[in-house]
């Protein structure tokens, strides 16, 4: 009985963690590649969530419709953010980056408040099939889908970066943009591509999260902190690190919510994070 219950908690944690991994991998990619911290990352997730809400209310579409749409929309948003803002503040002081992306966050967050209103929106529970029980463990359709897609897309993103020629070119730009340029790679094109990929991954994650989590204009703030913790834990720039850290945080969160109490789950997650920073500041998978 207890073992089943514990297993249930771990499985829920892993499913949640896979989604954490997906929406953190975009942040990690940008951070590692350009050394830019996107403080508007949570708002990208939030807009992905609203995409799912709008797709459902406007045309009754489920995740199979909203996930691709969110990927395209938020990916485009990423490219726009890169060309209009990030490209210009990248070489500036770190403070200008915080200022610029935080301004963007406010703009998007309160723009959403203006357009969608402050009310929490939820998608119907049975949008993604019903829950089922397997080996004594209860699986909810929406979370299984979110976890599975999150895991697969994160792995694909990792493979894209490490196994393809485009990935190598992107990594070359992140290593040394000038040297890459001399090799015939256009740094701006690669960086814009990184923002497109990061945006698309984040949009997909948002559309998936919306199937089991409330959507509101300020939800991005909460999710952004999880993403920051995941990225720092996994190592900046490492998508694989984000995957491992995301799963770890998902499990730690649901275990501590179960064993100690829901209020303390964040405390444990932040405490783990501070300890990791202390003993291994480059993160689990990062290099110094």
């Amino acid at each position: 009985m207890t073992t089943t219950l514990l297993l249930q908690v771990v499985v829920s944690g892993l499913l949640l963690g896979a989604v954490y991994a997906l929406f953190s991998s975009g942040l990690s990619l940008i951070w590692g590649m350009m050394n830019v911290v996107n403080f508007a990352h949570g708002e990208f997730v939030m807009l992905g969530m609203y995409t799912a809400v709008v797709v459902w209310t406007a045309m009754g579409g489920g995740p199979w419709a909203s996930v691709p749409i969110a990927a395209i929309l938020i990916g485009t948003l990423g490219v726009l953010a890169y060309f209009l803002l990030v490209r210009h503040i990248m070489r500036g002081p770190m403070l200008a980056q915080i200022l610029g992306t935080f301004g963007l966050a406010l703009f998007l967050r309160y723009g959403a408040l203006w357009v969608f209103g402050a009310n929490f929106k939820t998608l119907p529970d049975d949008l993604v099939g019903h829950s089922f029980i397997l080996g004594g463990i209860r699986f909810e359709g929406s979370r299984v889908l979110a976890g599975a897609v999150g895991f697969i897309v994160t792995v694909l993103l990792h493979l894209l970066l490490t196994r393809t020629s485009v990935g190598s070119r992107m990594l070359a730009v992140s290593e040394d943009a000038t040297a890459a340029q001399l090799m015939g790679i256009r740094p701006q094109r690669m960086q814009a591509l990184a923002w497109a990929l990061a945006g698309a991954a984040t949009g997909i994650a948002g559309a998936l999260v919306a199937t089991f989590f409330y959507t509101s204009p300020t939800v991005g703030e909460t999710l952004a902190i999880v993403a920051f913790v995941t990225v720092a834990l996994g190592g900046f720039g490492s998508v694989l690190g984000a995957l491992v850290a995301g799963l770890l945080i998902g499990v730690v969160e649901s275990l501590s919510a179960f064993l100690i109490g829901p209020v303390y789950k964040d405390v444990i997650v932040y405490a783990v994070f501070v300890l990791v920073l202390w003993f291994r500041p480059q993160g689990l998978m990062g290099t110094t």
Binding site: G92, L95, G100, G103, L106, F107, A232
Partner: protein, 333 residues
Amino acid sequence: MMTSRRLLQLAVIVVALAYPIVTSGSPVWQRLGALVLLAAISASAWNIVGGYAGQVSVGHAVFFGIGAYAAVVAFVHLDLPPILGAPIGMLLSVAVAVVVGVPTLRLSGHYFSMATIAVGELVRVLSSTSDWLGGAQGLGGPAMPRTVFDLSFVSAMPYYYIFLAVLTGLLGLTWWIERSRMGFYLRAIKDSERAARSLGVSAGRYKLHAYMLSAAFTSLAGSLYLCMFGFIDPESGFGILLSVKMVVMAALGGAGQLFGPLIGALILVPLEELSNSLLGGQGAGITFVVYGAIIVIIARFLPSGLLSLLERRPHPGTKAAPANPNPASGHAD
């Protein structure tokens, strides 16, 4: 040149002192003045570690919240005037700064920022679970002032002058540090920590000192906030938005510059307050959309803050531009 500078300084002092008297007919404007000064105190305190030492803390609300809670706890649990909690809050904040700073100041750049965010959130969540601190509802200060020492006034004018005095003291201290050996070291560390270390500057010690000093004054700002508002809860004491606002104000005016945070506060606080009161709860969305757009535009076009405008534009008479072969360069072209 010297006289025009003196005149400007005199004008600023006169305006700063006369502001609440001139606006005494309008409590809203008086209150606004006090809020600008309070925001300027916390942003200037942040500036010591974030601007001068270049260690971008995004968790300074921890110290603000400690100050505010120390004040309210002094009243609720010890029945003392809230302001007597201020020194305790400052000591506690300095202690927390040491505990947080010793391990995290070793981390460079974004790592330090992330660590401060995590510590901030940790403290916020912990404070909302503590019954002693009033949990998520928070705690209130004295409903009715018992003595003048409760610093509980109906008018914003006394707060204005208290905040002005504290800000003046803080800016004076910052000015002194800027010119001292420590300020010199901090600039060296900010430019290149490795170079500073190799020249024998104990970077860790000076960064920590800047962090401790910064924490103490942020905490004082929190205690003063409590005196004026008479209420604190985890979100308004430890919320991440509060931390980010300190960064944004300082960066907007010019981080690492004496008057940068004050300039930032002078722009952002009225923008926020006025549009909130004009548009009410309904229009809050539009307010922050504009607020965000302004911040983005400034970051995009003036990455070093508004005060960099003054530096870039050569003053006629101050710079002789000796190596300039073009005599027509002084013309507007």
